[in-house]
Each structure stands twice: as C-alpha cells, then as structure tokens.
C-alpha cells in the first residue's frame, strides 16, 4: 500500500517527554477531519481511536477503500453529526497510519525503528494529540470521545487537561487494564514474536513480514470483541461451503473461516510492531495507580461533563469496570451520566449498528451542545 496517499500530517516541533524517559522531537501526527469548525470554534470533537483504528473515522478510508471504522456513529445526520460538528481524529503515536510509529525510519540510523522504537503509553498518545488544539487554534473542545482504548485516552485527556473539553464520553473502557486484558494482549504479542519472520522486530529492514503471527493475534483478539451468544447466533455450528465434516484441519466451520478471513485482511492494513507497542500501551494504562490508588483524584479539578456507556455483553471491558469510573466521578461530585446498553454484540457493540446506543449518544451530544 502507498501510505502517503491522502494522509494529512502535522509535524510537532515541541519536544515530548515520554513516560519511558526518552524525549521525541519533530515527530509526525497523521490526522483527518470531518465537518467544519464554526466561527466561535466551539464545535470541535476530538475522537480517539481504539487499538487497531486509525484517523479515518468516517467516509471511505483512502488506504483500505473500506468505510471508516466509526462509520455508524460519525457522519452527516449521525450521532456525531458532521453537519454540526468539526470532528478531528489522529492516528496515535506508535500507530501505522502515518503517525510516528515503529514502522517509520529512524533518522539517526536511516533504518526502520522496529523494536528500537520507544515504548509509548496512553498518556504519551494523549499528550501528542493535545497539539492538535494548537494546530487548529481551538481553545476548548466541545467533546472528547472514544471507545475501548479510545475511552482510555478520553479519561487520560480529561485527567491531563481538566478544562480543555466541555464533554467527555468514554465508552466501553476501563481506568485500569485488567489482568485478563493484559493476558489477551500478551497472547497476541507472543503470537507475533513466535513468527520466524518477525526477526526480533527487524522484519521491515529485511523485507519480511510476520503475517502469520499477526493474523493469529488478530484472530484471538477478535474473539474477545464478540460475545458467546452473538457468535452462537451468527455462526452456531454451521459448516463452511460443505455438506459434512471433512475430517481434517481445513476450515470446516463458518466461524473458523470467518476468523481466518479477519486475520488475513488485518495483516494488509496493520503493522506487527505497532500491534506490540499499542497493546503494551494499553497494558500499562492504570489511571488508578497513577493517582496512588485514588481514582477520583484523577478528575478532581475538572468541570467536564461525563457520559459513560457500557454494554451488557462486553466481557472485555465489563460494566463493572466502567462503573468504577462513574463511582470515582460521583465521589467528587462531577457531572456524570451512565448507562449500560443492552446488546449481544460484545465489546464491538460501540462500533456497530446498535440503535439504542447511537440514539442515546446522538441525543446527548445534540442536547448538551444546544444547552451550552
């Protein structure tokens, strides 16, 4: 793929000290925008993407030629209505859609970074993206929104910049990555690193690609994004283009074929090292520990209005973890709304067509903006 087609970038010349101790300079941030900024500059919404997302929230992604990852929620007349709002989304640092990431060339060595790239955190991602406000000359965002890892960035954003967003909507996320989630991420990383083509992270310099490892990582992760009921209803024990079992290891079942397909299309658009770095950032995310066990402290100074949303069948970022954030916000008397949406689509619910979710989100944004 030609990555330089249609990718907007800013180069940030303000040095950023990363949590790992390194400082980065003149790093690029790839972004996309939808809708337009009004004269008062009060209608900007910064959307944060999840693990494998990118800046192409809506419309057609120019690289994959598929619909943007939050096509259901963002667009003209949709919940995040681009007729009324100016939507900004940037590829996180560590990513592979044009922002400073492990697949970029290290100017010091003229080689692709690979695992020489610094370990980044959710905090680093958010601090990098904060520069977008300056770039677009926005004093205060109307909202910061994101699901999953995007939700973690939303929480971190308000914690770091308590007066820079009127509204924060973290969806299907957590304030502290659980042992189970770290375990799943480790499974994905080990799968990538077990691929001989990973070459200790140096595959790009050696014209190799750990596609098998990355594909298995994606397959395993994909299962965690769905629910048992959802899978059973969609696939059951249905066979894939055959009348009977073949007594072999081909994809007999539709679910096998589906997962293999998910794995194979993923490797075309995602970099294996980015997968390592971003999952690591998620694992390191612990806003509770960052505030010495006192989560309310993370939001103490904020006037930001929160809406927290979870889904009944999400077992990866379950309601209980989302509720922990609600409880912390109530402890400091913050303005917080919370609902658990009924859905059998698992963690992926926030990305899919779940009308109750999309309607609540859209109405909340519209009403809150008009009462502004």
């Amino acid at each position: 793929m030609n990555k330089n087609v249609n990718i907007k970038k800013i180069v940030i010349d303000k040095p950023l000290k990363l949590d790992c101790g390194q400082t980065i300079n003149n790093y690029s941030l790839a972004y996309e925008t939808y809708g337009s900024l009004n004269k008062k500059k009060d209608n900007a919404i910064l959307v944060f993407h999840a693990l494998t997302g990118d800046q192409f929230v809506s419309g057609i992604n120019p690289i994959t030629k598929k619909e943007g990852w939050w096509f259901y929620a963002v667009g003209s007349g949709k919940a995040i209505d681009t007729d009324n709002f100016f939507v900004i989304c940037a590829n996180v640092i560590g990513g592979c859609m044009g922002s400073f990431g492990p697949n970029e060339v290290n100017p010091d060595t003229n080689k692709i970074y690979g695992t020489n790239f610094p370990v980044i955190t959710i905090n680093d991602m958010v601090n990098a993206q904060f520069n977008l406000l300056n770039f677009f000359n926005i004093e205060k965002l109307f909202a910061v929104i994101g699901g999953s890892m995007g939700g973690m960035q939303t929480l971190q954003f308000v914690s770091n910049f308590p007066d820079k967003a009127k509204v924060a909507i973290p969806i299907a996320c957590t304030a502290s990555h659980s042992a189970q989630n770290i375990a799943f991420n480790e499974l994905g990383r080990q799968s990538i690193m077990a691929d001989a083509n990973w070459m200790n992270g140096d595959y790009s310099n050696q014209n190799k690609n750990p596609n098998k490892g990355l594909s298995v990582a994606r397959m395993a992760a994909h299962i965690t994004y769905l629910s048992k009921n959802g899978l059973q209803e969609k696939f059951g024990r249905k066979l894939q283009e055959r009348d009977d079992l073949k007594f072999g290891f081909d994809a007999d079942f539709q679910i096998e074929s589906y997962l293999r397909h998910q794995g194979s299309v993923f490797v075309d658009r995602f970099d294996a090292n980015s997968y390592l770095y971003i999952t690591r950032a998620m694992d390191y995310f612990d806003l509770i520990k960052e505030h010495n066990g006192n989560l309310p402290h993370a939001f103490e100074n904020t006037k930001t209005k929160f809406l927290i949303i979870s889904f009944t069948s999400d077992w990866l970022y379950p309601t209980s973890e989302n509720k922990e954030i609600v409880i912390a916000l109530n402890a400091i008397g913050a303005d917080v709304g919370f609902v658990e949406i009924e859905s059998d689509k698992g963690h992926d619910s926030f990305l899919l067509n779940v009308p109750k979710f999309l309607n609540t989100l859209g109405d909340y944004i519209k009403t809150t903006y008009s009462k502004n």
């Binding site: 409880i327 109530n330 402890a331 917080v336 919370f338 609902v339 609540t360 109405d363």
Partner: protein, 198 residues
C-alpha cells in the same frame, strides 16, 4: 403531578446540589432545572428511562438506589428527592437511612394508602385498591411496601428523624400535617410530602 413538582420545587433552595432518586424519565429533573438554579443529578433503575434522561442531556446514572447510593459521599447533596418510589423498595428503611446520609435533607413523597377512597375500595369491593396514584393490579404492582401518611409520620417520629415539613395534597390543595390533624389528613389526602433531616 405538576402540583407535586411545584411543592417539591418550593421546598428546594436556590444554588443547591440535588439528587433525584428514581428519577424516571427525568420530567421532575427538567422541571426543577427550568424553575430553579440548582445542580441536579439523577439515579434510575430502568435502562429505557435512563436513555430518555441522557437524551435530554441530564446527568443521570443507571443504578439501583438500594445498592448504588453507597457511592455518594456523606452529605454530598443538599437535597435528595424520592418521589413516590419509597414503597417500591425491598427495604424502605435502609433507603431512608441512605437518603439522609447522602443528603443534608430529603424530600419524600408517598401515595397515601390511608386515603378514604383506598379504604372504601378495600372495604366494599374487597379487592386491592386501584386509584390514580395506585394504578396497578396486586399481581403486577411495583409497590412492595405500601404505607399511609400516618405510618410514615410515625416511622420518622420513632427514629427521631426530624420532620421539617409534612404536607398533605388533596385535589390540588396543600395543607400542613401535624400531630393533631394527623388522623384527618391520613383519611383525606392522596399524597403526603415530607421534608426530613437527620
């Protein structure tokens, strides 16, 4: 309904923090927001109602008042409202205790089971009363612990809960309840409205 809202609104002071427990679809919250300069939050158990509240931009959390009031610190609200919901809880006693912990004051309204029409219904028809305020059949009513104005009055007296105001509502007429007219009001009023504190 509107009358009840008006009374509640009159009991609440300006520039205060208010929590509406069992806020339903947010009608009372919106009413209070428009009529009073207050900072109001809500907690509601029904997902559909919570979604309606959030659609109106209200700060409402989905939760069960019997468990989820725990997350609010002591005296974190100036007023806590419980409008016609007390009878629906498994343990109204614990809920009242929690209301008075979370709120400096609580406003509790109860549909009066001692209202004469209710009594006559049971006396003459011999079936569980159905009225404007108690519209459900015995088998599908959410009301587990019906009480009368007198019951609630005595409940507060027994527990040394301060009754700052006790009001009776009948045909849009408001009157005060005191120890001398308690039996009369318990017969004549459809709704009791109480402002209580620890």
């Amino acid at each position: 309904m509107k009358q009840e809202f008006q009374i509640i609104s009159d009991l609440i002071e300006k520039n205060t923090r208010v929590l509406d427990v069992g806020c339903g679809d947010g009608t009372l919250m919106e009413y209070l927001k428009h009529n009073k300069e207050i900072d109001i939050r809500g907690i509601e158990i029904s997902k559909d109602n919570v979604q309606k509240c959030l659609s109106k931009g209200l700060a409402v959390i989905e939760g069960d008042a019997e468990k989820d009031l725990l997350q609010f610190p002591d005296s974190s609200f100036d007023f806590v409202i419980l409008s016609q919901t007390l009878q629906a809880f498994l343990s109204p006693e614990i809920v009242i205790k929690e209301l008075l912990r979370v709120g400096k004051k609580a406003i509790v309204t109860i549909p009066n089971f001692g209202f004469w029409k209710v009594r006559l219904h049971l006396l003459f028809k011999g079936t569980m009363p159905i009225t404007k305020n108690l519209p459900n059949e015995w088998y599908n009513t959410p009301n587990l612990h019906m009480c009368t104005i007198k019951d609630f009055y005595n409940f507060c007296e027994d527990r040394e809960i301060k009754l700052d105001k006790s009001l009776a509502l009948q045909n849009e007429k408001i009157s005060s309840i005191n120890e001398f007219n308690l039996n009369v009001k318990n017969l004549s009023a459809e709704l009791g409205i109480f402002l209580i504190e620890r």
